[in-house]
Symmetry: C2
């Protein structure tokens, strides 16, 4: 096991009717800004539940945070916060609203020039406005980490940052809020969480049996629960188990002491940037191709995954690992997620050239061996 | 899954040579009290490493915290803290030193009369002196929770309390510190952790696949790593994996949303009180007997455990569950832990009468169905 530093102070309030616990969690001695997105919370009852729980608190609303939250939108909130002397942020919505709120929290306390430097230059924060959230979409895991991704519309830039100062003080997870999700978002969330785990697990062995088995626990649970929730969107237990899988997938626990990859995400980000394809869709197409391209490097872990997650009873690592890739693709298809770019009308060869061009411009190397360069990315996307 | 509230803000610094990171973790603007026990840290090098790391800090030492830390000893530290205006506690040692330090931290800020009320009456804390620890014994899990058990010598009372105010700010875990542990303590730690998991897992199903699989992950890891570390006490990887298992076993994660038992612990505490038997030894004798006594209630989970942790390929729940009990006893024996009180010179029938008497005096009910009374405890201990 590698040395590690693990810290995750987020309080999770999980279960039915938990939005009603808001009054015990919010400060009464400062003005609160409630942030949200495009209004889906007004349709599914979350907005009304929140407003009811906020009775007696001094609060203002800031709606309109878009998917892939814009720096420009967030800075409008910062202006209001400074003017209104707001001391707490309550994010109500999915991962984008929460990511935007994390950036707002950081930017409102930033004193060293343009807050865009926080994600662009990954500068450490001195402090941030404390925040909490009601999270309504199981996907990004943002409710239990200190990560945020923000986009700048004017320059077409998209950067992430992570800083302990923006850990939510609390995250309320009521799985019933997810009943009304469009199927596409439910599917994207399952795949996104699955691949978050894979990026921290499907690398090479440094003797981390707890972390490996925790990863396998999440993967197996997603495989079992995913199809159930598509079958019956009102299955509370499956909604709950998927949401908890999502939070566990990216809270630092399974990567502590282990080796991480993230090359699927790096390639996926470029495909989203180039073609506007949903994040999870890019991942679903790229991941199997990464596994095949790095087959020898990942074979031992793929075989372990085949045996433990898929119950494959087979001594041959090579065969088990190959079967694991096929079984995973079949699972993706079972939850209605294609694994080829062609299914989304994108020509893989053309996309490969585009991604290669972008990787060449960046000049960075990715993957657990830091050996995925532009040429490797071309080959991966070509077969996606 | 049941609703839950999960919060664990402990920062874990894990790995080789991590004591050297102390200077980045400690406050420089207040006096620090370093607490420790009977001096084993002076033999294994931990004391020297700590003193070296404390160079330049304003600190005092308080040694002599005994196993099952005494209220009386802790109150001496409280007196010094108040006199010396100490603002941070650094616990260096095992779970007892840390439990004592948690009580000291709470008592030093207690303003409502006798601090013994904190554990005796489970009164909530308003605040506590912040504390951190270097933990040298994988067993109690105290390094990653806010629990503490304190004994009062003068009245022969022993009470626990838990309060978020006494979460360690950080816990340094260097598995190399455990190389020099006496074998008996290594064994006790493995069994203690194993049974911590069992108490939160071997109950009944409320649809918690993540929590179940995380529990199974820890159990399987202890089963694999336990014998290795007895074979070779200097096996870093096994020491590391056992320590991380221990911390994960009692940090709130596997019980979140699940159903808990704790009846083995309740009976075990009385056996320790009556016969002075090591905590882990009492648990090892009581647990299999609890499983047999509550066989029907626990059969489904026992069978799941048989299949997932022991790889038993068998359709019959009854057979699988019975095999699981035998395999668990065999594992305990493999790590040199007896599972019968007779092995420790205690007559089970006599002990059963003694435990029954104590349970009758308490009048409380235990177990996941709250149906373990004095008569049930008699039957459990009789077969232990």
């Amino acid at each position: 096991m590698n040395n590690f530093d693990f810290f995750n102070p987020v309080r999770i309030i999980f279960g039915k009717d938990t939005i009603a616990q808001l009054p015990e969690l919010l400060p009464r001695d400062t003005k609160i800004m409630m942030t949200y997105g495009g209004g889906s919370i007004k349709k599914n009852g979350v907005y009304d539940q929140t407003i009811k729980a906020l009775e007696g608190f001094d609060f203002i609303e800031f709606g309109g945070i878009e998917p892939n939250p814009h720096y420009e939108t967030c800075m409008k909130a910062v202006e209001i916060i400074k003017r209104e002397n707001t001391g707490f942020l309550l994010s109500v919505g999915g991962g984008s609203v929460l990511d935007g709120t994390k950036f707002i929290a950081a930017a409102a306390k930033w004193e060293k020039g343009d807050p865009w430097d926080i994600p662009a230059k990954k500068l450490p924060l001195k402090s941030a406005i404390p925040l909490g959230c009601i999270i309504t979409l199981p996907a990004t895991g943002s409710e239990m980490n200190c990560n945020s991704v923000v986009s700048r519309e004017s320059t077409h830039e998209k950067f992430d940052f992570h800083d302990p100062a923006v850990y939510p003080k609390f995250s309320i997870i009521d799985p019933e809020c997810t009943y009304s999700l469009p199927e596409r978002q439910t599917i994207n969330g399952i795949i996104d969480s699955f691949i978050h785990v894979v990026e921290q697990y499907m690398t090479y062995d440094v003797n981390t049996p707890i972390q490996d088995r925790f990863s396998e626990s999440i993967l197996r649970t997603l495989i079992e629960e995913g199809p159930k929730v598509l079958e019956n969107p009102f299955d509370y237990e499956s909604r709950a188990n998927i949401f908890w899988s999502t939070s566990m997938a990216l809270n630092g626990l399974i990567s502590a002491g282990a080796v991480q990859d993230w090359c699927t995400h790096m390639i996926g980000h470029e495909l989203t940037a180039a073609y506007g394809l949903d994040h999870a869709r890019t991942l679903a197409c790229v991941m199997p191709s990464v596994w095949r391209y790095k087959f020898e490097d990942k074979k031992q872990k793929l075989a372990q995954y085949a045996r433990r997650v898929w119950g494959l009873n087979c001594d041959c690592d090579d065969f088990a690992a190959k079967q694991a890739i096929i079984l995973t693709e079949e699972f993706f298809h079972a939850v209605k997620m294609p694994t080829k770019l062609a299914a989304f009308g994108i020509d893989a060869k053309e996309a490969a050239a585009e991604v290669m061009r972008r990787f060449e411009a960046q000049g960075r190397l990715f993957g657990e061996h830091q050996d995925i360069d532009a040429a490797a990315a071309f080959k991966i996307v070509e077969n996606a």
